[in-house]
Symmetry: C2
Subunit: 209 residues, 2 copies
C-alpha cells in the first residue's frame, strides 16, 4: 500500500483521537470541540477537515482501515478458497467483537452515528462486497456455487452470514455468536449452495394442501 | 384449538384495539387511556387486565396468534420436511413483511416496545424454536443434518435464516429480502448442513501463513 503523506498521518491521528473522545463522551464531537480537547489551533483543524463531515469521514476510514488492508491482503493470498472465505468473515468478526466487548455502549453509539451518516460507510460495504465477489469467482472456478450468477451467490452468502457482519446482530445476539458456528456456516455454504435446487418452495398453498 | 371464553375474546378484541391505537398514536398506551378511547368503564378494563403489562401481554398474544396457530398446524401436516421448513419461515416472513410494508414506523415502534418488554416476547421465540426442533428431528430421521445435535442444528439454522425472522433486519435490509432467496437458503441448509466438515477454519494464523 502507498506510503501516507504527513498530512494524511495527522488526519488519521486526529481521527483516532476523535474515536476515543466520542467513546468517552458518549456522543459525537465537532471539529472545534475536538481542537479544544487536543489543544490544537482551530485554523489547523479547519485546514485538515473542511467540515464536521470530513472529520467523521476520517473516523470511518480509521474504523475500517485494518479490515480494508486485511481484505486486500487476503485476496492476494494463496489460501484454499474455502479457508479464504472463512478468514474474510472471521477476521472482521473478531475485530468488531473486540470493540463490542471492550465497550458495548460506545459500540452502539458508533453504530448509531454510522447509520445516520450511512453514505460515508457505504463505500466500505461496497469494498467488502467487491472482495467477496473475487472469492466467489475463485470458488466457482473450482466448481463451487454452480449455476449461480456472482450477484446471486453474493446476496445469498451475505444473508446467511449476516449474524457475523451486522452490528445490529452483535448488539442483540452477541452471546449466541461463536467462531466455530461461523466456520460451520461457511462449510454449509460450500457444500450446499448451488443453483437449480428449487424444491423447498414450489407450491405456496399449504393451508389448502 | 380449544374454544376461547367470552372473556378471552373480549381481551383479544381490546388487544387488537390497542395495536391499532398504538400504531395510530405512534406511542404505547395505558389501560386507562385505552378505556377512554374505547368509551369503556375503567372498572371493566381493570377487571380484564390487572395492570398495563397484562394489556401489553395480550397485545403480544394477538401479534403472534396467527403464527402460533400456523406453526402448530404445520407440525401436524404431512408436507415433505424440506418444504415444511420453508413454510415455517416464509409464512412468518410474509406476515411480518405485510405489517412492515403497511406501516414501517409502526413496525419500528412495536419492535421497540417488544425489546423493552422482552420477557413477554420470549415465550413466542421459545415456541418457534420448539416447533423448529420438531422439524429438524423429522429431517434427521430422513438422513439430513447428520452428525449434529438438535441444539447445534437449531442454532446454526436460526443464524443462517435470521434475515427472514429478525425485525431489525426487516428495518435495515428490507429491499434485499425475497421469498426465492429464503427458499435458496433453506435448500442450501438441507444440501450442505452436517457435522464433521471442519475445513473452513483449522488454522488461525493467516498473517503468518
Amino acid at each position: 500500500m502507498p506510503a501516507r503523506s504527513t498530512t494524511d498521518q495527522e488526519r488519521a491521528r486526529i481521527a483516532r483521537a476523535a474515536i476515543d473522545s466520542i467513546a468517552r463522551r458518549g456522543e459525537t464531537i465537532t471539529r472545534f470541540m475536538l481542537a479544544t480537547e487536543l489543544n490544537m489551533p482551530r485554523a489547523r483543524m479547519e485546514a485538515l477537515f473542511e467540515d464536521d463531515d470530513a472529520l467523521f469521514s476520517a473516523v470511518v476510514d480509521e474504523w475500517y482501515r485494518e479490515d480494508a488492508d486485511f481484505m486486500a491482503q487476503l485476496a492476494q493470498s494463496d489460501l484454499p478458497v474455502r479457508r479464504k472465505m472463512y478468514e474474510f468473515y472471521v477476521q472482521r468478526y473478531r475485530r468488531e467483537r473486540a470493540r463490542y466487548d471492550a465497550d458495548p455502549a460506545a459500540f452502539a453509539l458508533f453504530l448509531e452515528l454510522g447509520t445516520a451518516k450511512f453514505e460515508l460507510v457505504r463505500g466500505y460495504i461496497e469494498l467488502a462486497d467487491h472482495h467477496l465477489v473475487e472469492i466467489i469467482a475463485e470458488a466457482q472456478a473450482e466448481g463451487y456455487f454452480a449455476g449461480l450468477s456472482l450477484d446471486r451467490a453474493l446476496t445469498l452468502i451475505n444473508q446467511m452470514v449476516i449474524c457475523y457482519t451486522s452490528p445490529q446482530m452483535m448488539l442483540t445476539i452477541d452471546h449466541r455468536l461463536a467462531e466455530d458456528k461461523l466456520a460451520a456456516i461457511i462449510d454449509t455454504i460450500f457444500a450446499g449452495l448451488y443453483g437449480d435446487q428449487g424444491t423447498a418452495s414450489g407450491i405456496h398453498t399449504l393451508r389448502q394442501a
